[in-house]
Amino acid sequence: MQIASDKIRDRPHVGLFVTCLVDVFRPQVGFAAIKLLEQSGCRVSVPTPQTCCGQPAYNSGDQVGTRKIAKTVIEVFEPFDFVVAPSGSCAAMIKLHFADVFSDDVDMKARAEALAARTHELVSFLVDQRGMVTTDAVFPQSVTYHDSCSGLRELGIREHPRRLLDTVKGLRMTELADSDVCCGFGGTFCVKYPDISNRMVEDKTSAIAASGAETVLAGDMGCLLNMAGKLKREGSHVETRHVAEVLAGMTDDPAIGEGD
Amino acid sequence: MDDARATIMGGLRAALGERRGAQEQVRARLAAHQRGTIPARSQVARAAQVALFEQMALAAEATIAHVRDDSEIPQAVASYLVQENLPAIIRIAPETRLQAIDWAMQSTLTTSFGASDGSDAVALVSAFSAVAETGTIMLHSGANNPTTLNFLPDTHIVLLDEDRITGAYEDAWDDLRKAGGMPRTVNFVTGPSRTADIEQTLLMGAHGPRRLHIIIRKNGS
C-alpha cells in the first residue's frame, strides 16, 4: 500500500462518523473504513455517542429537530482533527448544511463551520488528504460504479473511487451508463413515493444489467440498499457492496442482502 | 389614477428597501451598456469570421450562394429557384438598392415589390447585418423592409453584404444604435423555421419559411 510520502508528515486523529445505515445494516463498512484510515497513517477513534447526521429531519423541513441532532454531532466530534464518514450524503450534511441550520446562532454557526472544514467523505479523504494512490486489495471481478448524488454534486467525488479501484488487483471496471443519475433512494422519498422511486431504480438496475458487471459498488449505504433490494427482487445475480469493503480487501462476507 | 401600478410599485419598494444612489446606478448602467463575455470563436481575423458565419449558417440548415456584385443577383436568384424546383416569382422588399437591380436581365423572373399578403411563395429581402457567432441574419422592419416578407412566404432569400457580417450580437447592437435605434421589429434569423413538437422529431418549415437562402455579396456597393 502506497501513500505519497509528502503527505504523511503527521498522524492525525480521525473521528469516524459511522452513519446510522452502516451501524444497522452493514457494520463491516465501518471496520473497512477504520482499516483504510489506519493504513493511510491516521489514528482512528469511534466516539460512541453518535447516531445520525440529521438528514431525515433536515430534508423534512424540521429545522428545530435538525438543530438538536447537529448540536450533538458537533459536540461529540469537535475534539478530532478530522471527521470522516463512509457516506457522501452524511459528510455533505455536516460539511455543507450544518451551518445553515444555525443561521440565527452565531456561536453554533461558527462551531458548525469549523467542524465542516474538517469533515470529509472517506474515499475523497484518503485520496485528497492522505495522498493514497494504491491499495493492496484483490478483487477479481467485473465491477461497475454508481455515483451517489450527494457525493458527486455536493462534494465533487467522481475520480477518487475510480482511481483507487483501478489499483485493485484483478478488478475489471466497466463504466455504468448514466452512472450520475439518481437511483431513486432519496431518504424518505423512496417510502413516500415508492412507485416513482421504483421507476427510477428500474432504470438503474437496467443500466447495471447492461454493463455486464458482476458487482456494483457505491459509496453510500442508502443507494446500496436500494439497488441491492431491487436487484434481488428482480432475481439478478449481480452483487452489491460498499466501495470501502473492496478497497480494504474485506470482501469475504456475503454481499449486501446475500448469504443464507 | 392607476391603483394597480401604485400597489405593485409599493410592494416592490417595500421588498427592496431603501437603496442609496440606486437611481444613479441604474441610469449609469443603462447608459454604459457594457458587454459581457463575448465567445472567443467569433473574435478572429476577418476572413475567419466570414468563414465562421458560413459554417454556422449551414449548420443551421440555411443554404448559401455568393455573388460579386449586384449584376449577378438576378441570375443567382433564378438558378436557386430552378434548383429547388420553385416558381420563378418573387416578392421583393422595396428597398432602393433592391429596386435598382436590373431584374429584367433575368427574363424568367417575375418580380413585384412590397409587403406580403400571404400569397407569395418566395421573398427576397436585404439583411441589416449578420452575426458570425451563430450564423444569424439580422433583419429589421422599416419603410422599405416589411416584416411579413420574412415569415409568410415558403422560401426566404436574404441578400447580405459580406462586410455587414459582424462577430457578435453586441457589434450588431452598436451598428443599430448608430443607425438610429430600435425599429418596430428586429429579427434574428438562424436557419429556416422548424419544430420538434411531434414525437421530438425535428422537421423544417413549421409556420415560417421552409427554406432560408443567403446570397452573400462580396463588394459593398
Binding site: G61, V76, R233 | R35, R184, A206
Partner: protein, 475 residues
C-alpha cells in the same frame, strides 16, 4: 389553468401506467440532455456566461422597480402602452378590454406560460372571443383540451397517432381518407390550417422571454415562426409578461440569450429571436397599429421579499425538468399546474400556496441535477427545501410521518437511548425470521418492500460489535 396539484398521487399513478408518456420521457432523456451537453461542450465560455447571467438578474431584481419604470417610459416613448396587473383577474380583464376595443373575434397566440397561469383562453372563450394557439405543440393540446406538460415542448407526451386522431376530428374539411402517418404531413397540415387564421386574427398575443428596459423592447425566442406571424399580422399586439422578465440593456439580453437556447434544446440560437419595440412606425409597410404590454405581478413582489427570491432568475429554459429523474418518471401533467419539474416544485407552491401543492416539493430526492444544469445558477434543492419547511411548519404531512420523524429526532439526539432503542429493534427483527438475509415484506416498511427486497439489518450493529471488542479497531 385549473390546478390539480392536490391530486398528485392519483396523477402519478396515471403517469406511471401511461405507456406512450413513458416512451416519450425515455426519448426526452436521450434527446434534450445529450444535445445540451454537446452545445455546452462547443462553448468554452459557458460557465463564465452563467455567472454573468446570474449577476445580471440579481442586479435587476435588486432594482426591479426602477428598471420597470424605465421600461414603461421607453414603451410609451415609442407609442406603446404598459398595463400593470396585480393578479390574474386584472390581467384577464385588461386583455378582454383591449380585444373588445376592436371588436375582436379571433385572437392568435404565441406560447405563453403566463397565459396558462391566468387561464386567458377559457376567459376569452367565455366572452365570445376565439383564442387560437399557433405554436404547434400548444395547438395540439388546445385541440385535445388538455394542459401543457413541459414548458418548452408542451405536447411532448402526445404520440403522433394521437396527433393524427385529433387532426382528423378537427380538420373536417379535409379528405378523411388522407394519410397522416408521417410527422411531416402532420406539420404541413397544421401549417396550412393555421395560415388563414394568422391573416384573419384581430389581435395577436405573445409572451416575452425578456423585457429590455433600455429600449422598451419585448423579446420572443421561437423556432417555428408562429410568434412572429402572431405579432406582426393583426392590428394589435399584446405582450403578456410577469414583472421579473426585465433585463437592463440589449447587451444583457444577448448574454442571457447565449444561455437560453443552449440550455433548452441544445441549439446555438433559436431559429427566430425577435425584439419588438412599440407599434408600427408611420412609414412601416406592415406591423400592428397598437402595442400593449400587460405586466403581471400575481405573487412576484411577494417572492421578491421572500427567501425564495432566487427563483425569479428563472428564464424558462426547461433544463431542470429535462434532467430531473422524477420528471423523467412522471412527466409534466402529474405536477398539476403550469410549471412542472424542479422549478415548478418551487414556483407552484409559491404562487398557489403550499397548502394545495405540498406534494410537489416533497417528490424530490435532492439529487441536485437541476441545480447543476440551471443556466442561472438557481439553487433549486435549497429552494425546494424551503417549501418543505413551510409545509412542516403548517403540519401538512400525514400524522404518521410527523410522529415518526419526531420520534426519530428525540431518539437520535440522545445517543444512549438510541443505542438501547436500536438493540431492542434489532432483536425484534431477528425474531421475525432468524438468519434471514433479506425481507420481501416487513411491517411498517411496505413502501419499501412493495417493489424491492429489504436487506436484513446486521445481527449485531457496528456499535454492539465495537463495544464487545472493547472499542479496539479491527480486533
Amino acid at each position: 389553468m385549473e390546478a390539480k396539484t392536490h391530486a398528485f398521487s392519483a396523477n402519478v399513478a396515471d403517469a406511471l401506467e401511461d405507456e406512450p408518456l413513458q416512451r416519450a420521457l425515455q426519448k426526452l432523456k436521450q434527446g434534450f440532455v445529450v444535445k445540451r451537453r454537446e452545445a455546452i461542450d462547443n462553448l468554452p465560455e459557458f460557465e463564465r456566461l452563467r455567472a454573468e447571467g446570474q449577476a445580471i438578474k440579481d442586479h435587476t431584481l435588486g432594482h426591479l422597480d426602477l428598471y420597470l419604470e424605465e421600461f414603461e417610459a421607453k414603451v410609451a416613448a415609442k407609442g406603446g402602452q404598459v398595463h400593470w396587473c396585480r393578479d390574474a383577474g386584472e390581467a384577464r380583464k385588461k386583455i378582454l378590454t383591449i380585444c373588445r376595443s376592436v371588436d375582436a373575434r379571433t385572437v392568435t397566440k404565441g406560447k405563453s406560460m403566463i397565459g396558462e397561469e391566468i387561464a386567458i383562453n377559457d376567459y376569452l372563450e367565455e366572452n365570445g372571443i376565439e383564442p387560437i394557439e399557433t405554436d404547434l405543440g400548444e395547438y395540439i393540446i388546445q385541440l385535445r383540451k388538455e394542459p401543457p406538460s413541459h414548458i418548452i415542448a408542451p405536447a411532448i407526451h402526445v404520440p403522433k397517432e394521437a396527433v393524427a386522431d385529433v387532426f382528423r376530428e378537427t380538420h373536417t374539411d379535409l379528405d378523411p381518407e388522407r394519410s397522416l402517418e408521417d410527422p411531416r404531413t402532420l406539420v404541413d397540415e397544421a401549417r396550412s390550417m393555421l395560415r388563414q387564421k394568422y391573416l384573419d386574427a384581430d389581435v395577436g398575443i405573445t409572451g416575452a422571454n425578456f423585457l429590455v428596459a433600455e429600449t422598451g423592447s419585448t423579446v420572443i425566442v421561437t423556432n417555428e415562426g408562429n410568434g412572429d406571424l402572431t405579432q406582426s399580422l393583426p392590428g394589435i399586439h399584446i405582450v403578456l409578461a410577469s414583472l421579473e422578465k426585465v433585463v437592463p440593456t440589449l447587451e444583457d439580453a444577448s448574454t442571457i440569450l447565449r444561455l437560453l437556447a443552449r440550455s433548452a434544446t441544445g441549439q446555438e440560437f433559436s431559429a427566430y429571436t425577435t425584439f419588438s419595440t412599440g407599434p408600427k412606425r408611420p412609414d412601416d409597410l406592415d406591423g400592428p397599429a397598437q402595442f400593449h404590454v400587460v405586466l403581471l405581478d400575481n405573487g412576484r413582489t411577494e417572492l421578491l421579499a421572500s427567501e425564495s427570491r432566487e427563483i425569479l432568475r428563472c428564464i424558462r429554459c426547461g433544463a431542470c425538468m429535462n434532467h430531473c429523474p422524477v420528471y423523467g418518471a412522471i412527466g409534466g401533467h402529474a405536477y398539476g399546474w403550469v410549471y412542472p419539474g424542479p422549478m415548478g416544485a418551487v414556483l407552484t407552491p409559491a404562487l398557489l400556496g403550499i397548502e394545495r401543492s405540498h406534494d410537489l416539493p416533497h417528490a424530490s430526492t435532492f439529487c441536485g441535477r437541476c441545480e447543476e444544469v440551471c443556466p442561472m445558477n438557481i439553487p433549486l434543492p435549497k429552494l425546494i427545501r424551503y417549501q418543505r419547511r413551510k409545509a412542516f411548519e403548517r403540519r401538512l404531512s400525514g400524522r404518521v410521518g410527523r410522529w415518526g420523524l419526531a420520534l426519530w429526532v428525540a431518539v437520535a439526539a440522545r445517543p444512549a437511548l438510541y443505542r438501547t432503542f436500536l438493540s431492542v429493534l434489532l432483536f425484534c427483527v431477528s425474531l421475525l425470521r432468524p438468519r434471514c438475509t433479506r425481507f420481501r415484506w416487513l411491517p411498517l416498511a411496505s413502501g419499501w418492500t412493495k417493489h424491492r427486497d429489504l436487506p436484513a439489518p446486521a445481527t449485531k450493529s457496528f456499535f454492539q460489535i465495537w463495544k464487545s471488542r472493547g472499542s479496539n479497531s479491527n480486533g
